[in-house]
C-alpha cells in the first residue's frame, strides 16, 4: 500500500440531493433516480418486497437515511463485471437505493428472492441481501445483511462465525404477508443490528 484510503465523512442530512434528486424534488437533472428499479424486464425468480426503517437509540425512525441493497439474482449470480462464475440475469440489476419517507422513515424495495452464493472455502451461504446505510450522524456507512426467516441458517459460514449467538435474529427479516419481508435496522438498544466489517 502506498496510499491511504480517503477518510469517510457523514452523508449529512441532504444525501438525497446527490443520490435521489428526483425523490427530493430536483427533477430536472437526471431522468430517474439511480437504483430505483431493480427488475428491468422478465427477471427469473420469486418477486418479493422488502420494507423497513432505520431506528435510532431513542426508538425514532430516521427520516433522513439512505439505504442501498446489493444482492444476487435467482441463480445466485451478481450483475457485476467482478462476477467470475457466470452471467447474471440481464433483467435484474441487483442494486437498489431508497430514501426513507420524509414522515415515517419507511423504505420499500421491489426485488426478487436471491439464490445462494458460495462463501469461504466454497461453502454455500444462505440467501441474503447486503445492506449499506448512511445518514446524518453516521460517520462511516454501516454494512449489514438480511437473511430470510424460512431458510435454514445454521450452516451459513458467515453467521456461524458470530460469537454472540443471541444477536443473530437481528439479521433475519420478519415475514409480513406473502412475499413481503420487514427488516428494521436498529442502530442501538437491546436489539441492535449486527453490523459487519470485511
Amino acid at each position: 500500500m502506498r496510499f491511504r484510503e480517503s477518510a469517510s465523512q457523514t452523508a449529512g442530512p441532504y444525501v438525497h440531493i446527490g443520490c435521489t434528486p428526483n425523490f427530493c424534488g430536483i427533477g430536472r437533472v437526471y431522468v430517474e433516480d439511480l437504483g430505483g428499479r431493480m427488475i428491468t424486464g422478465d427477471a427469473k425468480g420469486q418477486r418479493i418486497t422488502i420494507l423497513g426503517s432505520v431506528v435510532d437509540g431513542a426508538g425514532m425512525a430516521l427520516r433522513d437515511a439512505m439505504v442501498e441493497i446489493w444482492q444476487a439474482d435467482a441463480a445466485g449470480l451478481y450483475a457485476s463485471p467482478e462476477e467470475t462464475r457466470g452471467a447474471a440475469d440481464p433483467h435484474f440489476t441487483g442494486f437498489g437505493r431508497r430514501a426513507g419517507d420524509y414522515e415515517t422513515g419507511e423504505w420499500v424495495f421491489e426485488t426478487i428472492r436471491p439464490g445462494p452464493v458460495p462463501g469461504p472455502g466454497g461453502r454455500m451461504q444462505a440467501p441474503h441481501v447486503t445492506f449499506w446505510i448512511v445518514a446524518r450522524g453516521i460517520n462511516l456507512g454501516l454494512h449489514t445483511r438480511m437473511y430470510f426467516p424460512e431458510d435454514e441458517l445454521s450452516a451459513d459460514p458467515v453467521l456461524s462465525r458470530i460469537e454472540h449467538r443471541s444477536r443473530i435474529p437481528t439479521l433475519v427479516a420478519k415475514a409480513e404477508g406473502p412475499g413481503a419481508y420487514r427488516f428494521d435496522i436498529r442502530l442501538q438498544g437491546p436489539e441492535e443490528t449486527i453490523f459487519f466489517e470485511c
Binding site: 500500500m1 496510499f3 491511504r4 484510503e5 480517503s6 477518510a7 469517510s8 465523512q9 457523514t10 452523508a11 449529512g12 442530512p13 441532504y14 444525501v15 440531493i17 446527490g18 443520490c19 434528486p21 424534488g25 430536483i26 430536472r28 437533472v29 437526471y30 439511480l34 437504483g35 435510532d56 431513542a58 425514532m60 430516521l62 433522513d64 446489493w70 450483475a79 457485476s80 467482478e82 462464475r85 440489476t93 420524509y102 452464493v117 469461504p120 451461504q125 447486503t130 449499506w132 446524518r136 450522524g137 453516521i138 460517520n139 462511516l140 445483511r145 462465525r161 458470530i162 460469537e163 444477536r167 442502530l187 442501538q188 441492535e192 449486527i194 453490523f195 459487519f196 466489517e197 470485511c198
Partner: protein
C-alpha cells in the same frame, strides 16, 4: 483476491460526541469481522450511457441561466491504495450553493436560494480513473449542533468502485479554509493526515483563463491483493 482490511483508527469512530447526532445513531457494539465473499467482492457497474451531457456541470444542469457564484472546476483521480486507477467508478456529488443554502424541503437557512442551482452532479471515471466537475464554490453554512457551529465550505462525494467493499461517502474541503479545523464533523476524523487527504488544492496550471479556478481532489479507495495466479492489472 481480497481487499485490504480497513485500518482501525483511520476512519471516524461511530461515536463522536462533539457531533451530537452521532450519539443516538452510533452502534454500541464493534462491527463483526466477516470474510469477503462474492457479495462484497462484486458491485454494481454503471455505464457511461447512464450520463446526460450536463450531469457533471452543476453550473448549467438545473436552470435556464448559469448558476450564481464563483465558478470552479473540481477534478482528480480515483485510485486504490496501491495507486492503481479505478476506471468506471461512479462519482456523485451534492453541495450547497454559493450562499451556503441547499435546495431541500427540510433546509431552513436564510441564505438565498439560487433559482439556477440544483446542487447535484455525477460522472464516471475514465480509463485512467480521472473525473471532472464544473460547479460553483459552495458557501459555508451554520447548522444546529453547538450554539454557533458552521460547516466549512465542502462538497459531498459518493463513490462506487469495483466492489461493494469499496463503497465510500466522504466530503471535500478547500485548501486554506480556517474553518476546517473547528468543525465537529471534520474532527470526527482521528488524524490530521487523514483530514489533509480530504482537502482539495488550488491548481493554477489547470485553472481555466477568464473562466474558472481549478481544484484538484484525488480519491483513494480500498486496494486489493491478488493471488499469484491472477493476471497483472
Amino acid at each position: 483476491m481480497s481487499y485490504y482490511a480497513r485500518a482501525s483508527g483511520w476512519h471516524p469512530p461511530a461515536l463522536h460526541p462533539p457531533y451530537k447526532t452521532s450519539v443516538k445513531r452510533s452502534p454500541s457494539f464493534a462491527p463483526v469481522t466477516m470474510p469477503q465473499t462474492p457479495s462484497e467482492l462484486t458491485g454494481p457497474a454503471f455505464g457511461h450511457s447512464l450520463l446526460g451531457p450536463l450531469d457533471n456541470d452543476l453550473i448549467r444542469n438545473f436552470g435556464a441561466e448559469p448558476a450564481i457564484g464563483p465558478r470552479i472546476v473540481v477534478f482528480g483521480r480515483v485510485q486504490d491504495e496501491d495507486g492503481r486507477p479505478v476506471p468506471e467508478a461512479l462519482v456523485e456529488i451534492w453541495q450547497a450553493n454559493a450562499s451556503g443554502r441547499y435546495r431541500h424541503a427540510k433546509e431552513g437557512y436564510i441564505g438565498a436560494i439560487d433559482p439556477n442551482f440544483g446542487g447535484c452532479g455525477r460522472t464516471i471515471t475514465d480509463e485512467e480513473g480521472r473525473y471532472e466537475f464544473r460547479t460553483i464554490q459552495p458557501g459555508a453554512y451554520p447548522w444546529p449542533n453547538g450554539p454557533n457551529d458552521w460547516r466549512p465550505a465542502h462538497i459531498h462525494f459518493s463513490i462506487f468502485g469495483r466492489a461493494f467493499a469499496q463503497r465510500l461517502i466522504t466530503q471535500m474541503y478547500f485548501e486554506g479554509d480556517p474553518m476546517i479545523w473547528r468543525c465537529p464533523i471534520v474532527s470526527s476524523i482521528p488524524s490530521r493526515e487523514a483530514v489533509e487527504g480530504l482537502i482539495a488544492r488550488w491548481d493554477p496550471e489547470a485553472t481555466l483563463p477568464m473562466d474558472a479556478r481549478a481544484f484538484r481532489f484525488d480519491i483513494t479507495l480500498r486496494g486489493r491483493r491478488r493471488t499469484m495466479f491472477e493476471g497483472r492489472p
